[in-house]
């Protein structure tokens, strides 16, 4: 999945996360995370974001994540939605990673 424009999903409400994905002029993923629980869960959130993007086939992107204490399932959903939007795709694929 190629990121061609800025895509955003989520909110800044409690238990949610705001994810913004943009094209990266360089190769790879550049992830910026803000979270109230970064000390405890920062590495788990980063891993969740990267795994979700890998599942979507996104290899090059700038990702801004503003977490408000979201569960893993919410982070995955918001990253996927932002990625689909940033790739200009309207049909999501509902697949469960094995």
């Amino acid at each position: 999945m190629k990121i061609i424009k800025k895509g955003m999903a989520g909110t800044l409400e409690s238990s949610d996360v705001l994810v913004v994905i943009s094209p990266n002029n360089d190769i790879g993923l550049k992830l910026v995370l803000q979270s109230k629980v970064e000390k405890q869960f920062g590495s788990a959130i980063r891993m969740c974001v990267k795994n979700t993007l890998a599942m979507c086939g996104v290899s090059d992107a700038v990702i801004e994540v503003r977490d408000q204490g979201a569960l893993e399932c919410v982070i995955k959903a918001r990253v996927e939605a932002a990625a689909y939007r940033a790739a200009g795709e309207t049909n999501s694929r509902f697949e469960v990673p094995s």
Binding site: G10, L71, V74, A81, F94
Partner: protein, 288 residues
Amino acid sequence: MKLRRSMMFIPGDNAGMLSNSYIYKPDSVMFDLEDAVSLTEKDSARLLVFNTLKANLYTGIETVVRINGVETPFWEQDLDMAVRGGVEVIRLPKTENVSEVREIEKKLEIIEKNCGRNVGETKIIAAIESAIGVVNSVAIAACTPRMVAIALAGFDYLVDMQTSRSSGSEPELFYARAAVLHAARAAKIDAFDVAYGDVNDEEGFLREVKIAKNLGFNGKSLIHPRQIELLHKAYAPPKEAVDHAEKVIQAAKDAREKGLGVVSLDGKMIDPPVIHEAERVLLLAQNS
């Protein structure tokens, strides 16, 4: 036997409510992709509901997804997501005739086969929200073995009937309630009464619960967690009914152990429907 007293609505795009609502222990939870979600957030809500379903947060609670209607461009993707996510029941909004249910059924079968679920595993609840839906509810309720309940939805129905909600005995809903309930009972499925919109009016809510319960509805659609406990308490059977139900079940057990074909209690014969009702009373008591 499954209890369906409370079906709690959760907007499909509300991450906080999706993450936490299992703590209120409704009998069923309905993730809404229809009216509660704006046109620009349908895609995002679908992904949120999908990942929530996959996270198994709602173990022990029946999961329902309200899809967008078959007249919209959204329903097929909604259905694909819900079935692949492992939802138990699809709630079809504004059901007016059997052909709409057939269309959903056909698509369900394809998705179930494609994702390895058993054909027929995903159940359906038809929401009746119009005069034509009420008139056709007998056929709708009985049209497929997937149908586990029908739900009356008051707001759109009353607009269609060119009237509005009153307080008290609510004569404007009387025919629809009675008709939908008869359709459900004739088809041997469950029935949900309308949602009560004023979450701060406990007295009005309980008045309406009493009407629904006395008519014979299994429960109600709910829009706020605080209504769950009120509803469950209102549906709790009185102690005398529980005591009697326990005696009936014991008598049935004794007869079975003695190899007797006929069950009797205090000299009176007990029919299978009485035993079934006693089981229902005990289930309600255990979950109140």
